[in-house]
């Protein structure tokens, strides 16, 4: 197991290397300059700024310079948010996205498992159809529709929750629900089909033949196996949900990383964009690895080599 983890970590090094290189190159190939503004910058100021951030060097030199900085743990400075380092921006906003994201992740996974299993157990009955219809709605409705709707109902009509903002417990409720709904719906569908597969397998038939109650069969025997596809989906899901969402964070004014991630590309904020890509890819690799390890712990048939 340790050897497996070690090997996976080693393999991820070239992956991260390629991701960083691509992020570095692609954003520089995009048209426009990070310093263009409606009020035209005078050429001297522009040249001075380019010099300051080494943007006037050849691409190769910039690339070497960037790696030199990176290896010293320096992610560079934001070009838009002057006087702020990328590390500082990520350091301030990532924890917010992480805390909101982890709640949403737990919500999505548990809701998905619950609804999916419930639907599978009642296959082709009214309960199943209702559950899957809800899931379909959840998948189809994008967060920019769900979020304003929930705000209208829970914040503006019922006055139960704040419309937006950050700081108290109440501020978590609506954004985490809106963030979780589409993923919960997807998890539910995944769970249902996997649970159906498992329920038709021999070992379940054996369990039932032994006279175990249906509840014990489902909860103790079937669920453990049926949850496996969900676990492998959890890796990318976690990375996705934890790095923040542009839409949800903007609508609820959550000071997370999501908007910085997206807008840095539009602003050609080269270092900030590359920095957020690094965070995202490291999280993605880490969560995939964790998912694989969990997979092995849950399913004894799998050996990690």
């Amino acid at each position: 197991m340790m050897r497996y983890i070690l090997r996976r970590l080693l393999v991820s090094i070239p992956v991260i290397f390629i991701v960083i290189s691509l992020a570095f190159l692609l954003i520089r190939l995009a048209p426009g300059s990070p310093f263009t503004a409606e009020r035209k910058l005078d050429p001297i100021a522009q040249a001075e700024l380019e010099k300051k951030y080494h943007l006037n060097d050849s691409l190769l030199k910039q690339y070497a310079h960037y790696w030199g900085d990176l290896l010293q743990g320096n992610l560079g400075e934001s070009l838009k948010y002057t006087n702020r380092t990328v590390k500082e921006i990520i350091g301030q906003t990532l924890p917010v996205s992480l805390s909101l994201g982890s709640i949403a992740l737990i919500l999505a996974m548990s809701l998905g498992t619950l609804i999916g299993s419930y639907a599978a157990v009642h296959q082709n009955h009214r309960e199943d159809r209702l559950a899957m219809m809800i899931a379909l709605v959840g998948i189809c409705l994008p967060s920019f529709v769900i979020a304003p709707l929930t705000v209208m109902v829970f914040a503006i009509w019922l006055h139960l929750l704040p419309v937006a903002g950050w700081g108290t417990l109440a501020h978590y409720v609506l954004p985490s629900i809106c963030l979780a709904i589409p993923y919960a719906a997807y998890c539910a569908r995944l769970m249902r089909s996997s649970m159906l597969d498992v329920l038709h397998q021999d070992f379940i038939r054996t369990a039932r033949a032994k006279g175990l109650s249906e509840q014990i069969v489902v909860l103790l025997h079937a669920l453990k196996v049926a949850v496996l596809p969900l676990v492998s989906y959890a890796g990318p899901l976690a990375a996705n949900i934890l790095t923040g969402s542009l839409v949800v964070e903007q609508i609820f004014k959550v000071p997370g990383l999501g908007p910085f991630f997206v807008n840095s590309v539009f602003n050609k904020d080269v270092f900030l964009a590359a920095g957020t890509v690094i965070v995202y890819s490291v999280l993605l690799i880490a969560f995939n690895l964790i998912a694989d390890i969990l997979y092995c712990l849950l399913d004894r048939r799998i050996k990690l080599r």
Binding site: P31, G32, S33, P34, F35, T36, A37, E38, R39, K40, L41, D42, P43, I44, A45, E48, L49, K52, K80, Y81, T82, N83, R84, I89, Q92, T93, P148, V151, A155, I156, H159, L160, L161, P162, V163, A164, G165, W166, G167, T168, L169, A170, V173, E249, Q250, I251, F252, K253, V254, P255, G256, P259, F260, F266, N267, K268
Partner: protein, 527 residues
Amino acid sequence: MVLRVLLILSCLLLASCSQRPKGVDLIFINGDEPQSLDPGIITGQIEMRLCNALFEGLTARDAHGVSRPACAESWDISPDRKVYTFHLRSHLKWSDGIPLTAKDFEESWRRVLEPATGSKYSEILFFVKNAENYRTGKIKDFSQVGVKALDERTLRVELENPTPFFNDLVAFTTYSPVPMHVIQKYGESWIKPGKMVSNGAYQLKAWRMSDRVELEKNPYYWRKDTVHLNRIDALAVSKGTTAFNLFATGQADLMLDKGLIPPMLVGELSKRADFHSNPFLATYFYRFNVTRPPFHDPRVRKAFAMSIQKQTIINKITRGGEQYANSITPPGIEGYQPPQGVEYDPGQARKLLSEAGYPDGKGFPRVTILYNKSDLNEPIATEIQAMWKKELNVEVGLRLQEWGIYLQSLDDLDFDIARSSWVGDYNDPNTFLDCFIADRGNNRTGWKNATYDQLMFTANTQSDPAKRFTMMQEAERILVEKEVPIVPLYFYVGIVMYDDKKFGGIYPNVVDEHPLREIYKKETSKP
């Protein structure tokens, strides 16, 4: 049981949602996350609003937008209007208690002009003698630049030209003093809470990215007794609906960023009592690329300009009570009368187009309108596209680009017609007309006119303000009546939302500035 838990939970939530941060007198919505709080570097209105609360220049604009003595209590102007001698107040202090002297101003202006500072607004200091030469490296010796601290309380400023609006100009954020003793200590990170020292009505208490900037009354401010509010929070909000929800539910008291008000709601909102609008010095206009056909021909440009019904755009799309524009300079600058410009006249437009070789639009090449994504740009472009089709029988395409790419296209003159806007920096026509001098970075049309340049140059060396304005009016006439490289469409209005029963000290003004130090709560303090 479940019901009881839910009830308790919702009570808890209910209790926490009505909570505003304790001790905050005013929460206002400021727009996007501020890019910096360094007054020498910033360029946007969002940042300036905060910097003007934190820092104060020789003069400062009041709630009516008029420049009043601030750090300087008085000034003398030489007979040729080229030398201003500012006399600073006694006992001026930074927020750390260290005295503020004329030397601080000299050093701060020098910092803006140093290329290494990377100031994006240094050109606003080019009115000072040799400032441009120092900035461009033509002179290396700063003592040749026309700013000098004669003693602790006297600052002598020599100008390139007689500049009648210089006392208004020094109220501009870029002219603010910065604490050099703190910058030397902390370098670029001096703008952070705990490090920043300021000289304005407020000091920086906290700054949480994407969330809020917290301001606290500065105990060393020279007129601290006139500052009404002790704590102010500026919220960073990038979505209009979110901003409006916060305002409507009482989590914010004041909305200052007009860009956050969705245009489709303006018509409805303008009926509310908490909606306040005022015309201000900003113009929405279209540029023609005059370097390539068909818009190299002034007759074609004029024909296009004459076939736009500007009032329709305001009634149908912008709906904020804007005034349609025939000149680039908005009305409201004292003593300046903008020229008539070209009026809507489709008959004459068709005639001009026919003279240019396109009778009834025949043979007219396909051109496009370039614009960046915003709630207004697209509907306006579509409306104008239809007007040109109807009046001139020409097909015009639409071209949408992302902000950065759109700006690049403007710079590269890679467009036929492009949407633009300009906000005046100071209360003088020069802030608009200077853009269109040949080869200016903000010209962005390729248009060059020797007479225009000459008129602008002579006007700016004039010491008689009335003559100066006459020349500028003449220059503007070339721009918007004769040559028409641009079509002004409408003058913006500033929109402020607040309950005037709760807060006072906010007045409509042409610079759309509402200093935080003048705002007061109606039930507690009155000025």
